[in-house]
């Protein structure tokens, strides 16, 4: 079908100007960076999400893209609808956008070269497995064998089966083996993976904000929308744990805790499992709230002064069976080993923030000049979680209090009596009256030891 018409060897009026595949592969992969090649593939997943859930502010919760990059191979898997058979046959693998191709609304994929270019760039063998509503199939390509034959440009579809496949089972998995040695070396570098993580985070902000979970090498990429206040003596906590829970792979937990803008609706813990938000702004015992009480003070489950509290817990594992979510993946499974390990850690990382917020609350009655924490919090900047350095506990450094420790006294008395005493002592304000009456009582009643 896609054969070039070969030059007739005997026709002395024709010159062979057809490209060899090897030349073609070299040209299209030459000017693409590896991270861009991967971004192209992520873009294809996003296009799938857009086809599946149209609209600019669609809810992508439950949709996932999982990328694995390493010296032994590359893979990207999504549950975003799969590549329709028709699209695969006529367009997806074609070099150049074919006539009649209907673009995905708000598509981010470009020019119809993205996928091939990315795959050719990485290695000599790749496979694309698609489960779409009507069919499932795979395309396996051995690039060297394919390039040997300059006449036939087709790829073969294998394992073609008819559906129907329910929407939640649809998706695409692309894997590349036999990586080019230079690519394998790059893929083994932490620096490359770190940059890729950053680039995806920046490029895919919007879909991630809509709920799309993207994981790279088993760890969810944290959207830039999640931020904590840092600076002016305030330093958020960031801890990372790795637990062997008997699954196929370990559970990686990343916890961030600190303060943000004052908003009761947004305060609390956010818990993500493999990038999916399981709990949002949780202020219940599940995330340890009722346990976080302050010494000597009656603190109910949740107080207004905690409206600045923000905590983010990212739990990731390639073995999703060890994650602490319930079977419908909509809440936490309180009996799971992972949750039992998590809860204490949440309490531990929350407590210093609560101490801070209690001190902040206590400043309400202070003179403006003494409101050091309030000032620090307004001066601190909001910083994306990814940019926070590891720190075992939330910390705030306030300048040590100079002079003797001070205690604050506040009370109310009938207005008329206040005015009378003010006149008697010659005080000009209530504050002055309070201080003078204290000094009067002190000098008359307290004897030096």
């Amino acid at each position: 079908m896609a054969q070039l018409v070969p030059t007739d060897e005997d026709d002395l009026t024709k010159v062979d100007a057809s490209p060899t595949k090897a030349f073609f592969v070299e040209i299209i992969t030459k000017d693409i960076q590896l991270d861009e090649a991967i971004q192209d593939l992520v873009d294809n997943c996003i296009d799938g999400a857009k086809r599946l859930r149209p609209g600019t502010d669609a809810d992508y919760n439950g949709l996932t893209v999982s990328i694995n990059v390493g010296p032994n191979g590359f893979s990207i898997e999504d549950n975003c609808g799969g590549i329709p058979l028709e699209v695969a046959r006529k367009y997806a693998f074609k070099f150049g956008r074919a006539k009649g191709f209907k673009r995905t609304s708000h598509s981010v994929g470009q020019f119809g070269v993205g996928m091939k270019r990315a795959l050719f760039k990485m290695g000599d063998k790749f496979s694309v497995v698609s489960v779409e509503p009507e069919y499932s199939f795979r395309v396996d390509v051995d690039v060297l064998a394919w390039a040997d034959d300059d006449v036939n440009w087709d790829f073969d579809i294998a394992d073609l089966a008819e559906g129907p496949h329910p929407a939640e089972t649809t998706g695409t998995k692309i894997s590349v083996e036999a990586l080019d040695p230079a690519v394998a070396s790059t893929f083994s570098q932490q620096a490359f993976v770190g940059k890729l993580r950053h680039d995806i985070r920046v490029a895919q902000q919007h879909p991630m904000r809509l709920g799309l979970a993207i994981t790279l090498n088993g760890e969810a990429i944290i959207p830039t929308a999640w931020q904590l206040k840092e600076g002016d003596g305030i330093s958020p906590a960031y801890r990372r744990y790795e637990d062997e829970l008997g699954g196929e792979s370990p559970l990686v937990t990343r916890l961030y805790a600190g303060v943000g803008e004052s908003s009761r609706a947004h305060a609390g813990w956010y818990v993500f499992c493999n990038g999916r938000c399981i709990l949002e702004a949780d202020q219940e015992a599940t995330t340890g709230w009722s346990e976080v009480t302050d010494e000597g003070v009656n603190v109910p489950k949740y107080h207004g002064q905690f409206a600045r509290f923000r905590g983010y817990a990212f739990l990731d594992s390639e073995d999703s069976s060890i994650l602490p979510w319930n079977t419908t993946k909509t809440g936490l499974d309180l009996e799971s080993d992972a949750y039992r390990r998590l809860q204490g850690r949440l309490i531990e990382i929350t407590r210093p923030v609560i101490d801070f917020l209690n001190s902040l609350d206590a400043e309400k009655d202070f003179e403006d000049a003494d409101k050091v924490l309030s000032l620090a919090i307004t001066r601190a900047s909001s910083v994306a979680l990814e940019r926070l350095a590891p720190r075992p506990a939330f910390a705030y450094t306030v300048p040590p209090k100079r002079g003797p420790a001070l205690a604050r006294i506040s009370y109310q008395k009938p207005q008329a009596e206040v005015e009378k005493l003010k006149a008697e002592l010659g005080a000009h304000s209530n504050k002055e009256l309070g201080e003078q009456s204290f000094e009067y009582a002190f000098s008359n009643l307290v004897e030096d030891d």
């Binding site: 010494e295 009656n298 039992r340 531990e348 100079r402 002079g403």
Partner: protein, 317 residues
Amino acid sequence: MPGTFKKIDYRLRPAKHAERVMLIDLFKRMRFAPIESYRYIGFGSVAFVDFRMVHKALGIKDLVSIEATEAEDEQTRFNHNNPYAGLTIHFGHSSTILPTLDLTKRSLVWLDYDGALSRSMANDLAAVGRNAPSGTFIGVTFTASFPTREPGRENELKRLKEEFSEFLADDTKAISFDGAKFGEFGRATLGALLEKAVSDADAGQQDGGRVRSVRQICFFKYKDGAPMVTVGWLIVAGSDVPTFEACQFDALPFVRTGAIPFVIKIPLVTPLEVREMERRLPDLATAADLEWIPEEERKNFGSVYRYLPQFSVVEQI
């Protein structure tokens, strides 16, 4: 709790002294690792008495003190009183400082509060327990006096119900905390919460030898002024149970693994009486010719004589 160091002269706390010496005795029996390799974490206050004892008696050099004071002049005073270069003082509330410490090092941790039992203490214990390796000692001291008059009783009851809601029914009465019951409530509750923290932290641990358990090892009660309770536990991994048993803690007369406390009572006796009683050791109980010394004082002396402080007006710096 900041400030109490200014109220109580530590030299006048003989029961506290006896308690410290008993704990040292206990630490000396620990066989999990050379005791010199441990870290000691405590609330040293301004005199660092326990730190001096731990260093001199056990040779522990890695010393960490947590001090809650925020005032600069007090911090300066604490720093000047720091007896050893190897002692690090962290200024801040224990809930803020503990998470910043590397608790995965085998340690002797004594959270020697002088406040009333609170959830915050349980959370501190949990923070230590979650991370503590096998062979770690965790002790907690708190005041155990329930108010005897209103409105103190009602307020304290309400606070406890809020902080320990899973342990107290809504209709719990204040009378449930009178006398010895308050201390026992603290021992049982803090123990249960520490045990939960350790067991939750090990949830899913496949290697049984690494699953840790919490063993109560002491339960002291004493009164130098306010009634105080100290409970101590050891964290023991499955593979260390034989080591734990080899320590033979039960050979120590003050070791308590259950709800019956060891009450430290300082005998009120004269130096001459002390000498007479010491001459009859170890058969003090059967010494018939000492009936002129009140029986209770003889009993108290017999149970704590090895741990009594020596009083004199000269103090070594």
